[in-house]
Subunit: 534 residues, 2 copies
Amino acid sequence: MTTTTIQGSLIGTRSVTGGAGTVRGVDPRTNQAFGDEFSLLDSDQVDEATRLADEAFATYRSTDPETRAVFLESIAENLESVGTQVVETAQRETGLPEGRLSGELVRTANQLRLFATVARAGDYLGARIEPALPDRKPLPRPDLRQVKIPLGPVAVFGASNFPLAFSVAGGDTASALAAGCPVVFKAHNAHPATSRIVGQAIADAVISAGLPVGTFSLVYGAGKSVGQQLAADPRIKAIGFTGSRSGGVSLMETAAARTVPIPVYAEMSSINPVYVLPSAIRDNAGALAEGFVGSLNGSAGQLCTAPGLLWVPEGAEGDAFVDLVVEELSRVSGLPMLTEGICRSRVEGEKRIADVEGVELIARGHEGDTENAPAPTVYRTTAENFRARPELSDEVFGAFCLVITYSSEADLLQAVDSTEGQLTSTLHLDPEDAQDIRFAQDLVPAVQLTAGRVLFNAWPTGVDVGDAMVHGGPFPATSDGRSTSVGTLAIDRFLRPVVFQSTPEALLPQSLLDSNPWNLVRRVDGEFVLPENQ
Amino acid sequence: MTTTTIQGSLIGTRSVTGGAGTVRGVDPRTNQAFGDEFSLLDSDQVDEATRLADEAFATYRSTDPETRAVFLESIAENLESVGTQVVETAQRETGLPEGRLSGELVRTANQLRLFATVARAGDYLGARIEPALPDRKPLPRPDLRQVKIPLGPVAVFGASNFPLAFSVAGGDTASALAAGCPVVFKAHNAHPATSRIVGQAIADAVISAGLPVGTFSLVYGAGKSVGQQLAADPRIKAIGFTGSRSGGVSLMETAAARTVPIPVYAEMSSINPVYVLPSAIRDNAGALAEGFVGSLNGSAGQLCTAPGLLWVPEGAEGDAFVDLVVEELSRVSGLPMLTEGICRSRVEGEKRIADVEGVELIARGHEGDTENAPAPTVYRTTAENFRARPELSDEVFGAFCLVITYSSEADLLQAVDSTEGQLTSTLHLDPEDAQDIRFAQDLVPAVQLTAGRVLFNAWPTGVDVGDAMVHGGPFPATSDGRSTSVGTLAIDRFLRPVVFQSTPEALLPQSLLDSNPWNLVRRVDGEFVLPENQ
């Protein structure tokens, strides 16, 4: 008889054994559970985490830029120091390949360092100063100084498909911590051991930085009930979520029904249409088909930005391109999906689409040689049929795509106008082709209304983490299209402006002092003023 | 028998007679209706306004900064050219004094010009450029260019208490139009004739600028049903509202329940606590009492920022200050309120508070010599009683204030922690008093969590419209504390970011071209770059 260790949550850096059952990691390639058990918290224990977060907020939000930056950098370092263990564990819990996870680890650490830079630069504070104008007519102007302040403790829900970059120390955590908000992180039960190692890396950084223990907690619990509890808790002031549409919508409903509603930033559902214009496949169809299949099947298609709709022109050139897709797909095999449940949804989702009239299977790869590795598939229908059947726009999470043949530019314009909100929309065209460029000049303004990112001659999978990225988009891609969950702008989600009027110097925050001790870019009288060292 | 003219709504610059009854302006000083009748639209007619707004969006959002700025400036000019008529009409419909309304007209025109400046400068576009780094390891960086785009048609609901600055051509309209969003404005039935004159000024500007007619519509209708219709209309992408808590919450509910939820910016309910620290009344009690009564009774207390809670220290100095307040109040008379209904709510609200145990009336001014001009009143209770009875925090809109005596700094800290979200919170103290400054250093961090604006030694009524103002605050002050409805930052409410990846130059928006034809401040590789002419 093997004995397994029971691991606890991290409530304010302390390991706490839960009172509501346990979960274990499962290798999706074998459906075998392995490793330690992770105990699930009961609601009083979850309550303790939010209480500590609330308590930590007063101190944590007052930290200076350097303290916050060093804290984020130290999480990155701690994470890297357990990198091998993290990657190995995540590999087993998710079935994702080593290379993908090593890359994700680098991205996660770099993302923390990027937000350290953001915290240090302080542009996000949006400091604005209007000095008093005592002689202004008809009324004097008082001294007015605006700055953005953190909202309060944030509950973050990790994604199953990015066990590092969108999980415990991922983008939501990094941006919330950079903003000055304590984080209560709900571990995803599909990668409990990975979560625990990463959570410890953060807890260690909290301790070494001398921050209040409630700055970060990692809680394990039954997904739905803990989620609802956190979303309803009056001490939680915002929510970050990456996951399913139903999960996100349910958090939105709870958050909106509170006595004091709070913002929910849920990244949910996107089928990422790709519009192939005729010029794109005139000389380049082979490379395009290969690129498409790579983007479709990478990470078993379990990327929020995987291309789920491919618009191809009717006619010989379009057909030849589709033939190349069929051929490319026949060479690849399905990869293991993250969990048995996700695999089941993928298979059921495919069946739902396959059963719709006017939809035909045109390409199928091989099944993978592990459990939960269905063959990647591509179906086809016409623009007319797609328009008539809204259920064809439902996301099927996994390596699955619907090719839609269009007969005219009007087909595409009409399709774009009726598309739901997307994380990405992509155009393929030859930039030297005058006709396609002319058409794209009509199409792009419409496309941008439906997406957070518009790409050209590229594939939407792969999201660069930087200053200009938008990983967002109108509902249902996200719950709040006014923001992004990737890139530096993500910090804006956890802030709100406040203005200080006629304030004695001793009571002004550092960010607004005349002496500008934090060297901030500020707006003075409506004009940007750069600090001397920039 | 007198015949009255029946006036219509402005649906896309065209006057349309409604099919759902009429309203007329009422002089609140006499309760007498006067002037033209204004016909109310039925739901098909309202639908036509949103259809036109949706149609106008494609063209209007593509206007360049100069076109949009000139349009806003021309609204300001048109408004000024009918200024005398506007002020006279508004005076009769609202009972507000001529000086107040003339000032409001100037503010409204200046606000439009301020947003013209904002549109021209284009900082609000938040342009960010990360040029391609083809040699970056491990992965190349694609060219990424981010800009903010308008959300779409906005429904705006005017306030009763600012018939100009928060009404037809007020801050919500100006900021939405500056952002590139067409506006469907629901006229407030308490000032229908004023609304119509101002609406015509906008419609004339739409025509002279050659903009699509749906850029602006002014609709008259039964308040609640038209509001709900607009909030539920899929073509409406955001809502601006200033009014009651119940009205705002009802719009929030409808907007959240849509298939595609939209943001609601409702400015609702605030009692604007004022904390008088001991040093403030040591030498200065007379001026302070006078300032308070002026702030309380101005515009009959019908300002969102009127001081409704006054915290005064227990003891001889506090009592002496309160005596001065009593004396000052005895010298002033009530001013006519905006409508019979608002006056009734004011009287009922006062009665509700007066009936609470432990609350006593301490000061009453005179009744005004018109209809609807109740005497301004001040009540008093203790910090302990205030804490025990949450109903004492309910807003009573009008010249009404509750004085709360506190016995310790702990009383104030506790009060701040349990206060609801506020538009403003004010501290009075002598900046030379070391003890009060020390205490304020503890108090201010807590105060800023509950308010959008924190003032010192000033009164919260009077909101400067500029670059640093925040007229916002946590719920229930507003529905969305992440924003402001006054000042240049208000434009952010109607925008969302989108990123263009690897985009052929011919398909990039002007704001993101390398040549920077609009002379924008942009972030390049994470650093602000000012255009050469700044």
